[in-house]
């Protein structure tokens, strides 16, 4: 039995001491005696998840797919290789927000605030305001103006909701068309969609940042196994 996993840092097992042994994909596969294929990437986007599923891999080689969708604000583009775009940590967006050009609702989604216990996002914002981080300044200097404009003027909540719905329908219909059973999860608590599993955790099941800790991964594995 082979199981296909994709997602972002949650599925990759960020903040675990030994992610390849402790993440939920490994626990599920050990329980079922299955072979694990985990393609997740920290900071990865739903666009990337769809590209992996529809273009880069052959899902028919797998007996099951477990896909964890992420925040719809993220995207990707090609520049010699596929590059991630994640508005969280982009200082000019804070300035635009303070100038009234980005609503608080959208800003919270940009910074991936899940709730008040999301210390990672709060810490990220504090460091941003101190001037100690600005992802776009360092990584996307030559594209900075476009992405600032894109997230300030072009993107909005409606766009993200529609884009997420397209991705949701695409994943579900693609797996159904290939007769591959799917568990579709998400970490986006802002979503209006009906996922098989929306990953929500108490603070004690999180690591220092926003990611699930070892017990958090065991909870995810148990929940998904229950649905399989």
């Amino acid at each position: 039995m082979k199981i296909y996993f994709d997602g972002c840092s949650y599925t990759r097992g960020d903040e675990l001491d030994n992610p390849e042994e402790e993440r939920f994909s490994k626990i599920i596969c050990d329980e079922l005696g299955a072979e694990e294929t985990n393609l997740s990437l920290s900071g990865g986007s739903n666009d990337r998840i769809i590209r992996n599923l529809l273009v880069e891999n052959n899902i028919e080689e797998y007996d099951y797919a477990v896909i964890q969708m992420t925040f719809p604000t993220r995207t990707e583009y090609w520049d010699s290789k596929w590059r991630r775009i994640n508005p969280s940590g982009h200082k000019p967006l804070v300035k635009e927000h303070l100038a009234g050009n980005i609503s608080e609702e959208v800003m919270c989604l940009f910074f991936e605030y899940i709730d008040a216990s999301n210390t990672f996002a709060l810490d990220s914002l504090r460091r941003l305001l101190r001037g100690s981080i600005d992802r776009f300044s360092t990584k996307f200097s030559h594209h900075r103006d476009f992405w600032t404009y894109y997230y300030t003027k072009i993107c909005n909540m409606n766009y993200f909701h529609v884009k997420e719905k397209i991705h949701y329908e695409t994943i579900k219909s693609y797996c159904a068309s290939k007769d591959v059973p799917l568990i579709l999860c998400s970490i986006n608590e802002w979503s209006k969609l009906n996922f098989d599993y929306l990953m929500k955790f108490k603070k004690i099941h999180r690591a220092k940042g926003t990611h699930p800790n070892k017990i958090g991964h065991q909870i995810i594995a148990k929940t998904i196994l229950g649905k399989m």
Binding site: V55, H143, I154, C155, N158, I166, Y174
Partner: protein, 214 residues
């Protein structure tokens, strides 16, 4: 019988004097005694067609056949917060879309004539968009459309505006190539098919439908 059509300006019937009567979707439907449902838009993108199908239509099963004419991969769309609707992201493609976007900008770059949002998209094509991106995302849109129709048991004819010979190595396979140089149809002054061109495209589709067991 009810047929769903989507596409860009060719499917819309741009430049036809009596678009609602002489575009290929109408001719096909008249021939089959079917009800025409055509939601194509000039300048429309593949992303728009995927959105129309997967999100805007709650029940695609009400249709007996879906016919989609996909367009050039460099087109895209965004949600205009002021107009409160999706808009094409400034169509810098079109006739020269087979050259790289950076070359296209040499032809179309007139910043003084366009608004700030269009300037941003111009920057997108100058600095960010690459054909690798466009081709991968075209395949994603095509595959999403195919699988959505397949799992809803609705027959699909997926066509394209791309020229077959230029893209023989592409993974994405289409049922019909409407813009193939070997089968060039008569055009109006701005390069859209004229009445005769639409009649030829309608016959192409009807011939293809004949081969399907609908």
């Amino acid at each position: 019988m009810k047929i769903y059509f989507d596409g860009g300006s060719w499917c819309y019937g741009s430049e036809l004097l009596n678009r609602d009567e002489s575009r290929f979707s109408k001719i096909v439907c008249n021939k089959l005694g079917a009800e025409e449902y055509n939601i194509s838009q000039p300048g429309g993108s593949n992303a728009m067609m995927e959105r129309h199908l997967l999100v805007d239509h709650k029940n695609i099963k009400e249709f007996d056949l879906v016919i989609i004419q996909m367009v050039y991969p460099d087109r895209n769309e965004y949600y205009d917060r002021y107009k409160k609707k999706f808009e094409a992201n400034a169509n810098f493609g079109g006739r020269t879309s087979l050259v790289t976007p950076r070359e296209k900008i040499m032809v179309f770059d007139k910043p003084e004539a366009i608004d700030l949002t269009k300037k941003a998209w111009l920057d997108y094509y100058k600095y960010i968009y690459e054909d690798e991106y466009g081709l991968a995302y075209e395949e994603m849109h095509a595959t999403a459309i195919k699988s959505y129709c397949k799992c809803n048991n609705v027959p699909l004819i997926l066509g394209t505006m791309k020229k077959k010979k230029r893209f023989q190595s592409c993974k994405t396979k289409y049922d019909l190539y409407f813009n193939d140089p070997d089968n060039r149809v008569p055009r109006a002054s701005n390069n859209h098919p004229n009445e005769e061109g639409h009649a030829i495209h309608a016959q192409m589709i009807l011939n293809y439908i004949d081969g399907l067991s609908l």
